[in-house]
Amino acid sequence: MELELRGITKRFGLLAANDGISLSVAPGQVHALLGENGAGKTTLMNVLYGLTQPDEGQIVIDGKPVKFGTPKDAIAAGIGMVHQHFMLVPVFTVAENVTLGIEETDRVGLLDRRKTRKDVRDLSQRYGLEVNPDAMVEDLPVGIQQRVEIVKALVRQANVLILDEPTAVLTPAETEELFRIIRQLKAGGTSVIFISHKLKEVQTIADKITVLRRGKVVGERTPPATEDDLASLMVGRDVQLRVDKQPAKPGDVVLDVAGLMVPGEHGDMPVNGLSFQVRAGEILGIAGVQGNGQTELCEALMGLRPTAAGTVTLNRRDLTHASPRNRLHAGVAYVPEDRKEDGLVGSFSVSENLVLDMYDRAPYASGLNLKLPAIAANAKARIEEFDVRTGSAAAPAGSLSGGNQQKVILARELGREHKVLIASQPTRGLDVGSIEFVHRRIVAQRDHGVAVVIVSSELDEIYALADRIAVMYEGKITGFRDPDVPAAELGRLMAGGADGGESLAPGMPPVMEEDAAPDGAAPDGTGALPPEATASQEES
């Protein structure tokens, strides 16, 4: 199936989200749509999928113009879409989800489960998409859920498959697996539209790359294009992917985490005896595949999750059991992993969000009274300093783009007096320009003598920022390394390989190495709980 978009224009008010976009997708082609957040990628795909109607332009399939009033029309025309956030019913099985809406019934009118299961299994085999039709969706890892979405589209005879930021939620291994699937689909003649802002992935998988900026096509490339070329097309100027920074000048130990154990929701121990120290003026990068306790570690450091054992000390002050507010007051700045859920109140204005954890302190309040002029003045200054792109300070924060939301959070957290900055996945889902901005701000913090902890599952980010790298695996640190460590070595540690203890970062006390090494060597982390940890867990 030959798909062509001709001069698609879609306006929201005065803004043209898509401005005369034309592109064509040949059968069996992987066509990447590359662009910053807000460039108009998702809007374009919503037009193609019948979710919104274009103001101008047309969609042409095999030479015939078509109109999609609803996604149903698009599906009937052979277009399938895998949304960034999956549209699955968690308590249904894979087979039930796949046939949702196109259920087959037998003569009596009952659901024909056997045929459904067989269909799913056949399709899975044909494309190498291994899924168990009887598994409950909520029990499946994200990567497999995505596979279910793809099967769902294929069952509906999709000839063109749209993948909207498919790797955003995947681990590196799952991403590899997805790429294998895409290649298989391609071999079978299915076209794939791959939406992303990750240059490397696009280069790996795409046959053709269309770059969007501010709603317009700014260039088309074929894979040998260099990363720098694509990045500058995307943001409209040359971008430095590496952060310029001087060697760190570490001072005294600011944050000391020793033997931390954090229980999870299901009686497990996601953080299982973890220790590290961060000194003033250095960035500790905690690398690791997602789901190895990073989320729980950050939440425990902020007091959002009770700890079972171990201590958290900030400048010799014990914060192990302090409330979130006390930690904020003690000088912890925190950039949460999930900015929409934990970082911002979406319906609050930008200016209210800029004081979300300071509203009760001078100069923003005196007694019960909020000082609205001070809050407004703060908003004006921060919006300017951090170049937050918003219509006004009164606009709801939820209406900003991801990058600008992150800028709001950074502006707030860095605007407060702080001694340590804990940032979890600080640039997830951000475009190249915003990543550069965030990285520069974080390095500037370090240079001001702040102790910085970066938790990231993106190795590029760890390499760009960290002065010292800690690798986290199954709730423990499996090793500390200098930033010049080869990626293969980090990969080995991230996969749970034992620490050879080859190089030590400067200023790292030997005691930590002793703590980390035996723990990291233990193949089964959760089983070996020290007795005192179990006891205090029961108490709380």
Binding site: P324, E341, S347, L368
Partner: protein, 442 residues
Amino acid sequence: MTTPPPATQPSASPPPTAEKTSKDGRHRPFGKIVRESFLEGNTFTVTVLALFSATVLGGLLVAFTNTDVLHAWSNFFSAPGHAIAAAWDAAIGTYVALFEGSVFNPHTVSALFQQASISTAIHDGYLSAVFAPLSETATQATPLILTGLAVALPYQAGMFNIGGQSQFIGGAIVSAWLGYNVNMPFFVHVVVCVIGGFVGGAAIGWLAGEIKARTGAHEVIVTIMLNYVMLYFLAYLLSSQSLMQAPGSTNAITPPIASNAHLPLLAGTHLRVNAGFLIALACAFAIWWLLNRTTTGFEFRSIGANASASRVAGMNVERNWALVMAIGGGLAGLAASTVILGTDFQLNPQSFGTYGIDAITVALLGLGRPGGVVAAGLLFGALHAGSPGMQTSTGTPVQIVQVLQALIVLFVAAPPLVRAIYRLRTARASGVGGTMSKGWNA
């Protein structure tokens, strides 16, 4: 079509709403902003149109349940004009009667001018009669506004307070007991009773909030169950003379409230409007101030909009749940004080009426904002005040007012329906899940 008199009332007080909806349109001409904000189908426009739709539908209902109209309709083919005219007259007559009973009745003015002198006019209550409808509206609106606030405030903090009734009863018990059992000088007594009402309601509200904070039990279930507990607790208190039943009485009723504890009348002895109305307005302002100008209100709104981000920002979510329910309960308790000390002067097992449920309606119609709650309370107060007159003069049953209320809420609760009827565009950015944030690349 007709412009329904009651519908003009809400437009009188929501300037805060209008201000908020004009958003970031600083450089656009005012007229354009107004036009756009109406076409956009924001909550304010939808509310006004919901009132209008309910009025039209209510009018049809009145017309076609009227026996005269039905009779005329059966002769539709011989005299079609007559049938339509009869229907029109019935509907308009009903609304006119409602208006005369709740806002202004021209007959009272002519009666006033037929009096020999101004002093007789005032002394015999002819002047009061002119203001009687407004007085009645304000009196009826008072507990509706206060209980409406009792729902609207917790709503802003993300809690649904269905316990207006139990909190009302809590306040009524304390208020009434202090009112008949204690002897105090005039002004002190009434103040003590009003504060007692607040405390009584706050205790019940706090209990619901605290149970949620401690155990995670859903506040809707807790408050509904507390409604039953308090209902029967009140019946028990009124069942024995050793408790709160009036001595020598066989009825379940308390002794009358001491006259020192009566809320002062505002407009002479002929009119029922009393200081309770001022309390309600003051509370609405206080709640507006609390929500928009204080750190506590900031926490309430933040927790209501995103509890998890609020927790990360260092707010104590659980403590705020208990606090907001305590204040909400206190407002319902104040409503009870205004009824016990302002109009009823005793407590019986029916004193709480339907305020607990009406409160939800009022808060919903008022869009959960204090100004809106005042407007909605006044509108429903007017409907209540006008309904007896409507029944006597047009024969329309008072129940039609309940139907009208229900229709209003039905339309308000279903914005897509109103948008579809009037072909409005959906609002541009209505907070987190606005079309803007979704459609324009996230």
